[in-house]
């Protein structure tokens, strides 16, 4: 029996993404029509029942976020879709943006309706510029068909969506950085408090959700929050798009019920990762992008859902699953992760700006075989300080992968201190 689901991804590849007719023929906009007849609080209750954990990476309960915003006074309220998908190894939002944009649009309109918003913004990363143009076409098509703009479906409710482009800054995926970027400020994250729900876009109350979270909204309205929750598992409802890449046989986006598959299934099952390419062995895997934890073969039987993963020190994060084979040295890999954060740190807060390069320096010592015992202490202290004291999620999570490796593969660090690593210091044929 197939372990994959086809809800979020049901239309992808099967319709013309810019055709309202195609979208409607496969169930599109029926949720919107239903929502327009519902009480706003009813919709929020469905969101709460759905147990939808935000799909951007931080896994904040979406229903809770909606309820909080609902209780905040102030007008106008803005709806913002975070389509700044930038976690390396993550390309699941791209699937929706490219192949089923109207599901996102529909979700945003429903959110707009709940909060009586007039304007929504979708911030799409600059690297997806071609997608931005197509997305605008989809918006125009929706407006033409009466699903967007003035008097949506003759309900009297009007809502518009504006496409905003990024220009290459991972940190704009942080919601406050994203809002700054929309406001034509530099995309460095804001000081919090105040919280975005209260002082968000243009200083107004704002809802920011991820692409996939918005695409889940029509599903939740359509099938009901409880049914949606049951697609997943306890406290972690729904299905989830997972982007699998790296050294797996298959590199693609798959959809699974949260908690209904294990990490082993995701990596080895034919319909998912299909095992390791070129007959190599699995060495480790990186979950949720560069800011996520690293898992090892001994953790493969963990179900892919928040609670079970957390017990193992792992998490879903952005939904990325990067598979690494035996040819990858852990230290070398961590250096790549660290380089990424060095490139992407906004630079304003000390721990993140300065910390990443010291982590890089020390990892380089391990890679060269010149590290000492004290370097462990330094790494741990850096990692702890960055996690505890950085201003935003970027700095706080920059050492998550390092922490996993220090915890589970300290021996590999120690081996490097002795100049031993099958990848970095390969022995010649005589074993010297």
């Amino acid at each position: 029996m197939s372990k994959s689901l086809s809800l979020l991804s049901k239309r992808a590849g099967k319709i013309n993404p810019q055709s309202v007719e195609d979208y409607v023929s496969m169930g599109g906009f029926s949720a919107l029509k239903k929502a327009l007849t519902m009480e706003k609080m009813e919709i929020i209750n469905e969101m709460l029942d759905a147990n939808l954990l935000g799909r951007g990476g931080a896994a904040y309960p979406a229903g809770k976020k909606w309820k909080q915003l609902y209780n905040i006074e102030g007008e106008p309220k803005y709806i913002v879709c975070n389509a700044d998908e930038g976690e390396p190894g993550t390309f699941k939002d791209k699937l929706l943006l490219k192949d089923d944009p109207m599901s996102i649009i529909e979700g945003m309109i429903i959110a707009g309706y709940v909060f009586n918003s007039q304007d929504g913004y979708i911030y799409i990363r600059g690297e997806y510029r071609i997608i931005q143009e197509k997305f605008k076409e989809s918006l125009e098509a929706c407006e033409k068909a009466g699903y967007l703009g003035d008097n949506i479906c003759n309900s009297g409710y009007s809502f518009r969506i504006h496409v905003v482009s990024g220009a290459g800054a991972y940190v704009c995926g942080e919601n406050s950085g994203l809002l700054n970027s929309i406001e034509s400020k530099t995309g460095r994250p804001r000081v919090k408090p105040p919280h975005l729900a209260e002082v968000g876009l243009f200083s107004k109350p704002t809802l920011v959700n991820n692409v996939e979270s918005f695409a889940d909204v029509p599903l939740i309205v359509e099938m009901g929050g409880k049914a949606f929750a049951e697609l997943g598992s306890e406290g972690d409802g729904g299905s989830k798009l997972v982007s699998i890449c790296g050294n797996s046989v298959n590199r693609k986006v798959v959809e699974v019920g949260l908690g209904h598959v294990t990490l082993r299934d995701l990596i080895y099952d034919e319909e998912f990762g299909g095992g390791i390419a070129d007959g190599k062995e699995l060495k480790f895997y990186h979950l949720g992008g560069q800011s996520g934890p690293i898992g090892f073969p001994e953790q493969l039987d963990t179900p892919y859902t928040a609670k079970a993963l957390k017990k193992e020190g792992l998490s879903v994060g952005s939904g990325a699953l990067v598979v690494l084979d035996e040819d990858m040295c852990i230290i070398d890999y961590l250096l790549k992760v660290c380089e990424f954060f060095i490139h992407e740190s906004c630079g304003k807060c000390t721990p993140c700006r300065e910390g990443n390069r010291h982590v890089h320096n020390i990892l380089t010592k391990f890679a060269k075989g010149t590290a000492t015992e004290e370097d462990f202490e330094r790494l741990e202290r850096l990692s702890a300080t960055m996690a505890l004291a950085s201003s935003c999620g970027l700095g706080q999570a920059a050492c998550t992968a390092l922490d996993s490796c220090l915890k589970h593969r300290r021996a590999e660090f120690e081996a490097h201190m002795r100049g031993e690593c099958p990848v970095c210091f390969p022995k010649d044929k005589e074993g010297k």
């Binding site: 000081v191 906004c346 320096n361 330094r378």
Partner: protein, 579 residues
């Protein structure tokens, strides 16, 4: 989170309960019970940036540490400010900053006053556990006033806040990201070719040695030790109420007498008072105002004492240069008079005269080098020192302001009215002008010489005065951001003021860029009070009543705004291109 300042919140900090209004930060609440949480990027008058992260504390409600500077008591449980975790994080952060900092405290202009140095001492940072990542960038000395040694920058953002949020000049800003994150001008242009007016508020804000005034103390030492030179010094009003800060006197202390004594012991041949020149300015500016009012001159007339402000008009509002009074600033009037009237009176050849100014200001260093400021036939003022530089010279001479006797200024350029004294605060020039203008126009004495309507800290202050049936509307503002609001209104024809006082720095010269470090709004207020105390106690409280001023006109200048006065005491302005 709902902040209601009328609601009181009680939290425990390090086990001690403290009750504060809702919306109070952890930092402020801790200060209330005597706990000083360390900070670097925080400044009480600035926006909260929370860049440095040095002020982190533990909060029982949070897994992570919280920055005390921006988190409110409303949203925390029990706070702990000195746990092992907190100390570990603070030390690590400081080590990271130091690993990217030149270790040359000995030669640093900020040594002894550096906030980073203090914290490094307090946290026992000796050997850094991290490898140095420091790279030196060239020191930028592209203007006569201000030095930027960005190798020392710790990226706290205080200077940017001063330049953008407080002054609105937008000469410097952030650029780049991550390890390249830095502070500079657009497209790295030299400071002087940007909108920078050299107000030095960035220097005053800098916690470390990245920004400083161009140090001219050696030039003054050389002059003092040159037997061929007659070296005179003038000291601006706002200096006497601030210099005590650097010698441990209570804030706002009036240290005129001991400061004069110190300067005499430094070796100045004569110690004079810029307040005298302020009185002279009132004579000229008051007359100019009356002329403009009577003869349909360009109105509103705007004061021109503040060189940062003059720079701003020349750079950003050149179309409004005609609104500026043509009067030179008191410092430049003094220079021109010192090298003519005084030199002649004393029989000293001009080229042997050396005029030093002690100013609360950095832009004055630029002003004295302007080509228009050579009306005596030589550079009217040779060197400008800031309040901080004077304090340094006093210490270097082995003197302590607190143990010196009180001495008087020399004559004839040392006698001043109380009106001259209040030039050092926002509102003071206006008040001084009104006192004399009122008396001259109406021929009457104002019953109360305190025109309190133009005093205080509001962004824009307004008043009106009845001059023989004609109502004159005046406005006072300080800080370029406020000035911009006024200028835009004038440009749009939306206001009918006749006379406006603008000072470049918020609060006026008491908060100038050359004043002792760690000046805050509260300290500025104490300095203002000090100036008003001087005024209150003065024998003469109106500039035109100053007998030395009367003598000066009688013996030398003739009439206010007369030919000689125009030659020596007035100037013109030039549009300056900016990038």
């Amino acid at each position: 989170m709902h902040i209601d300042p009328n609601k009181m919140v009680t939290i425990k900090i390090d086990g001690i309960p403290v009750t504060v209004p809702s919306g109070t930060t952890i930092l402020e609440a801790a200060a209330k019970i005597g706990i000083k949480i360390p900070t670097l990027c925080h400044h009480p008058d600035m926006t909260v940036r929370a860049f440095c992260r040095v002020c982190v504390v533990e909060d029982s409600w949070s897994r992570r540490l919280k920055t005390a500077c921006n988190n409110y008591v409303d949203e925390c449980g029990e706070v702990f400010t000195n746990t092992p975790k907190v100390r570990m994080a603070r030390k690590t952060i400081l080590e990271m900053i130091l690993a990217n900092h030149p270790q040359d405290c000995l030669s640093c202009p900020k040594s002894g006053k550096c906030e980073l140095q203090t914290l490094a001492q307090e946290y026992n940072l000796k050997e850094n556990s991290f490898d140095s990542v420091f790279t030196r960038v060239p020191k930028q000395e592209d203007n006569p006033a201000l030095v930027r040694d960005m190798s020392k920058c710790i990226k706290c953002g205080r200077c940017v806040d001063a330049c953008q949020a407080i002054q609105g000049t937008n000469a410097i800003g952030y650029q780049n990201r991550s390890t390249h994150f830095s502070i500079g001008t657009a497209f790295d242009h030299p400071l002087n070719s940007t909108a920078c007016v050299l107000c030095g508020q960035c220097v005053a804000a800098c916690p470390v040695g990245a920004l400083s005034e161009k140090d001219d103390t050696e030039r003054v030492w050389d002059a003092l030790q040159n037997p061929d030179l007659h070296v005179v010094v003038q000291v601006a009003p706002a200096v006497r109420v601030a210099i005590g800060d650097d010698f441990g006197l209570p804030k706002g202390s009036v240290a005129t007498g001991s400061m004069v004594a110190a300067m005499r012991r430094l070796g100045f041949d004569k110690v004079f008072d810029t307040n005298f020149a302020a009185d002279l300015t009132i004579m000229e500016e008051g007359t100019e105002l009356l002329n403009r009012l009577q003869n349909g001159g360009k109105l509103p007339m705007i004061t021109s004492c503040s060189p940062g402000w003059v720079n701003y008009v020349e750079k950003v509002y050149p179309d409004m240069m005609d609104n500026l009074s043509s009067c030179k600033s008191p410092q430049q009037m003094f220079g021109a008079i010192a090298k003519t009237y005084y030199a002649e009176k004393m029989g000293i050849p001009k080229e042997k005269m050396f005029v030093v100014s002690i100013m609360p200001c950095i832009a004055k260093k630029y002003e004295c080098q302007r080509p228009e400021m050579n009306d005596s036939g030589a550079q009217d003022v040779d060197v400008v020192l800031t309040t901080r530089e004077l304090a340094k010279m006093i210490r270097s001479r082995g003197l302590d302001l607190t143990s010196l006797p009180e001495e008087e200024f020399d004559n004839p350029l040392g006698l001043a009215s109380g009106a001259g004294a209040i030039f050092g605060t926002s509102g003071g020039v206006m008040e001084a002008a009104l006192r004399s203008v009122y008396a001259i126009v109406t021929g009457k004495e104002a019953g109360d010489l305190d025109f309190v309507g133009v005093r205080g800290h509001e962004a824009i202050k307004e008043a009106s005065l009845d001059l023989n049936g004609t109502t004159v509307k005046v406005a006072v503002t300080s800080g370029l951001k406020n000035a911009k609001i006024l200028l835009d209104k004038i440009r749009a024809g939306e206001c009918d003021y006749q006379f406006i006082e603008v000072m470049c720095c918020p609060g006026g010269c008491v908060g100038g860029g050359g004043q002792p470090f760690r000046t805050t709004a509260a300290i500025k207020a104490q300095r203002m009070d000090g100036l008003y105390r001087i005024d209150k106690k003065s024998t003469y409280r109106q500039s035109h009543k100053n007998p030395e001023i009367q003598t000066l006109y009688k013996e030398f200048l003739g009439e206010p705004n007369g030919h000689k006065a125009h030659e020596l005491l007035h100037t013109h302005y030039t549009k300056r291109e900016i990038q």
